[in-house]
């Protein structure tokens, strides 16, 4: 049974807005439409369960942090820290997203149509049946997938506002020791560091990419086949123990 409420967030302080949401949840509401959201923080942070959010406007810092389960559709942009340490659920952003998207994310899916900021997907990790996935339709800033320990990052570079920037920034995946990054049309060599293994994708990868690209396309009203019609490369760590031989006992 879904029970829906529309909240106009205009001029409401974040603490109050989130308190309202929690109260409605206690009353059994499951679907939320938030209008005029203008940077209110922490929406759906620490929220667990089967809830749907349609957020119109700009979702604030740390939206959906520690979230487990809900579906968020953000019609607009998201600020920094979206899906921080997220455990499960799905987030769709029709615009762009800021820095530290999906930091230390352990599960769930995030689909961003446009560009994303710095430090995206740092320390993503997978565990048992949990596999975090981020699909970025535009370009990504520096430090994408640093320290990545698991999960999947897909960068398409297609729906970017930035005509000049390379598809990913500097220090791509430094310290990565698990997980996979797929990049459409490849990435300039200058962005790659020595600890990465860059390869052409195989059949299995292609199936995997197709699955998440299809989700991305259907969520955002795009053509999956057109997106797939390109060369993808796969980036993985050269070593799963990048710091294994660093030490001498004293």
């Amino acid at each position: 049974m879904t029970k829906k409420i529309v909240i106009d967030a205009k001029g409401i302080y974040y603490k109050e807005l989130n308190q309202q949401i929690r109260k409605f949840i206690q009353k059994g509401y499951t679907d939320f439409e938030l209008l005029n959201v203008s940077g209110q923080r922490y929406i759906a942070t620490g929220l667990e369960g089967d809830y749907n959010f349609l957020i119109k406007g700009v979702a604030g810092q740390d939206t959906a942090a520690f979230m487990r389960g809900p579906y968020l559709r953000i019609e607009g942009n998201a600020q920094d820290g979206l899906g921080n340490t997220m455990d499960a659920g799905k987030i769709v952003v029709t615009g762009m997203a800021g820095d530290v998207l999906g930091y230390a994310m352990r599960g769930g899916e995030i689909y961003v149509r446009g560009d994303v900021g710095y430090r995206v997907g740092i320390h993503m990790k997978a565990y048992q049946d949990k596999l975090p996935v981020i699909v970025i339709g535009g370009k990504a800033g520096d430090f994408l997938g640093e320290y990545m320990a698991g999960g999947i990052l897909i960068v398409l570079g297609m729906f970017s506002q930035d005509k000049i920037a390379p598809i990913t920034g500097r220090s791509l995946a430094t310290g990565i020791h698990g997980g996979i990054i797929y990049i459409r049309d490849g990435v300039p060599d200058t962005q790659l560091s020595f600890n990465l293994k860059v390869e052409e994708i195989d059949e299995q990868d292609s199936v995997l990419i197709h699955k998440y690209v299809s989700n991305f396309a259907s969520e955002l009203g795009l053509d999956a086949e057109e997106i797939m019609d390109a060369r993808f490369i796969r980036i993985r760590p050269k070593s799963h123990r990048p710091y294994g031989n660093l030490y001498v006992p004293n």
Binding site: R68, H123, P242, Y243
Partner: protein, 534 residues
């Protein structure tokens, strides 16, 4: 010993005749030059030794072994780390572990420590690794502070006769209290922030499950519950079996975010954001894959055998504003039910940073000095980075007072608290409570051998090897921790009573109760205490 000589000389003859003499010499000499420059020697009193082989079973570094030819226990001192386990368990007291008396020529600049480290690094080419806190002979300010006692003018109090209050609440305190009177009853109108209630101003410091084993986590959880204090999970997540001790648990959120999820955040009576650690300020942690067994994998939520790398910074915190963002994300996630602590290493600008932390909304500021222990730290960092907890504490307390925000957060001090007098001095210097970590481990047998990073701790502490971890019985370990804190509690009461105080509150930041010996004027000024005699 005669036969040994014979064997040797026979070998020697054969060896000299050998046509492989050059390669042979090389093969023989290819032994690390540090191998015989070992730190400890095992002395076995052969009159007492009954060849029971207990030492052989106890030593996880394989120092002791059974020699079939000689039919007796022998040892190879070069592998000994000086943990004293064999000595402690030898039923006849036949073993003594001694410092290796072999000496280099005196040189107060090139001490053997430096020589040996250079040899090792030249040979193996790596970062020197150590365990526990900074062991170097920097000043220990606790040992320069003396407590006051009442004489004549205000009577001292006997804690055995009169009530003595050690109870401590950690959390943000209001600027002022408002009351309402209704039906002849006075009620508090001010809404109080969430607090952590402690029966003693002592908490068990963050030591992750993984760095120490599960048996000790059970022991800490149970002891904290029995004592009415709290323990801290460290950054290793929380085992499902320990959720029931939640009211006495501070859960930690560090840069790796291992095992951090909604249930975890809501499991404890407080949350601590770990920014830094006294033993290794400014750097992250690497729990090697070998230590990530099924249990550790379960709580950290990473696959068995995978390295657990904690980045040096939280990558969502690059400023005080970012810190505020995480503090409030955690408060939102827990619906403002628990206080949030921020732990930093004591570094040069600790006072300014602490002020920022308080303004960012933290309810507790925890400061870890450079004596604070660790399971593994690069030696150069452990020994050369950070400042003493005592100075950081005094500077932070003063700064927060000067800025009029001291009530907004409690101060917890960690890093090298060795006895109840250290606790009393810390509180007089401005702390609300202390964290003890190394003392917890010593209570269950740790001898500060500083080899925790090998994962072979013969005392069954810093190890997850089942056969070693079994050496810690959770019930016995719990009893020891309860004994330790209770006895410190009695001593604190005695010291308080002697000063004519009947509540720990009256001592907090009461630097009049401290005097210093052997400190410079600048040090006195930082500590804001007078020299003894004045």
């Amino acid at each position: 010993m005669l036969d040994c000589g014979l064997v040797k000389s026979k070998c020697r003859k054969k060896f000299l005749k050998s046509k492989y003499i050059y390669t042979g010499v090389r093969a023989l000499l290819y032994q690390s030059i540090v191998q015989n420059y070992h730190d400890f020697v095992v002395e076995r009193n052969l009159d007492l030794c009954i060849n029971c082989r207990v030492c052989e079973r106890q030593c996880s570094y394989l120092v002791h072994y059974w020699d079939e030819n000689r039919q007796r226990v022998m040892h190879d001192s070069s592998k000994c780390v000086g943990c004293h386990r064999c000595e402690a368990l030898c039923p006849t007291g036949a073993i003594v572990i001694k410092r290796n008396p072999s000496q280099f020529r005196e040189n107060s600049h090139w001490k053997p420590w430096f020589l040996k480290n250079v040899y090792k690094q030249a040979e193996q080419g790596g970062v020197l690794l150590s365990g526990m806190g900074n062991p170097q002979p920097y000043p220990i300010y606790w040992d320069h502070l003396l407590l006051d006692a009442s004489q004549v003018t205000n009577p001292s109090i006997d804690p055995l006769r009169e009530p003595m209050e050690l109870r401590t609440y950690l959390g943000s305190k209001p600027d002022a209290l408002e009351f309402v009177e209704r039906d002849n009853k006075v009620n508090l109108k001010t809404k109080l922030s969430p607090q952590i209630k402690l029966n003693y101003p002592i908490m068990f410091s963050a030591m992750s499950y993984g760095s120490i084993n599960f048996n000790l986590h059970i022991a800490m959880a149970k002891a904290a519950t029995e004592l009415g204090i709290v323990y801290n999970t460290g950054e290793g997540g929380l085992h499902p079996d320990l959720y029931k001790y939640g009211p006495n648990t501070i859960i930690q959120v560090a840069s790796g975010r291992f095992g951090v999820h909604k249930d975890y955040l809501n499991a404890g009576c407080g949350i601590e954001i770990k920014i830094g650690q006294g033993a290794k300020p400014g750097i992250g942690g690497h729990l090697p894959g070998e230590k990530v067994d099924a249990g550790v994998s379960l709580t950290r939520m990473i696959p068995i055998g995978s390295d657990a790398l904690s980045p040096a910074p939280h990558h969502d915190i690059y400023s005080i504003e970012d810190l505020r963002q995480l503090i409030y994300a955690l408060k939102e996630a827990t619906e403002y039910r628990v206080p949030v602590s921020v732990k930093i290493a004591a570094v040069h600008n600790a006072a300014a940073i602490a002020s920022g932390i308080v303004r960012a909304g933290a309810d507790i500021v925890a400061i870890d000095g450079f004596r604070g222990g660790t399971g593994a730290a690069p030696t150069m960092i452990r020994d050369n980075v950070g400042i003493p907890a005592e100075l950081a504490l005094a500077a932070i307390d003063q700064r927060l007072r000067d800025e009029g925000v001291r009530n907004k957060a409690s101060i917890v001090i960690a890093g090298g608290i060795r006895c109840s007098a250290d606790v009393v001095k810390a509180i007089a210097l401005g702390a609300d409570a202390v964290y003890i970590g190394s003392a917890v481990l010593v209570a269950v047998g740790c001898t500060m051998c500083q080899r925790c990073y090998t994962g072979k701790c013969p005392w069954g502490i810093a190890t997850n090897v089942p056969a070693l971890a079994r050496r810690q019985n959770p019930e016995i370990a719990k009893r020891k921790l309860v004994n330790l804190v209770r006895s410190w509690g009695h001593e604190i009461e005695e010291m308080l009573g002697g000063m004519g105080l009947n509540s720990i509150e009256s001592l907090r930041g009461n630097r009049e109760k401290l005097r210093a010996v052997g400190l410079s004027e600048i040090e006195l000024d930082i500590l804001k205490i007078k020299p003894a005699g004045r």
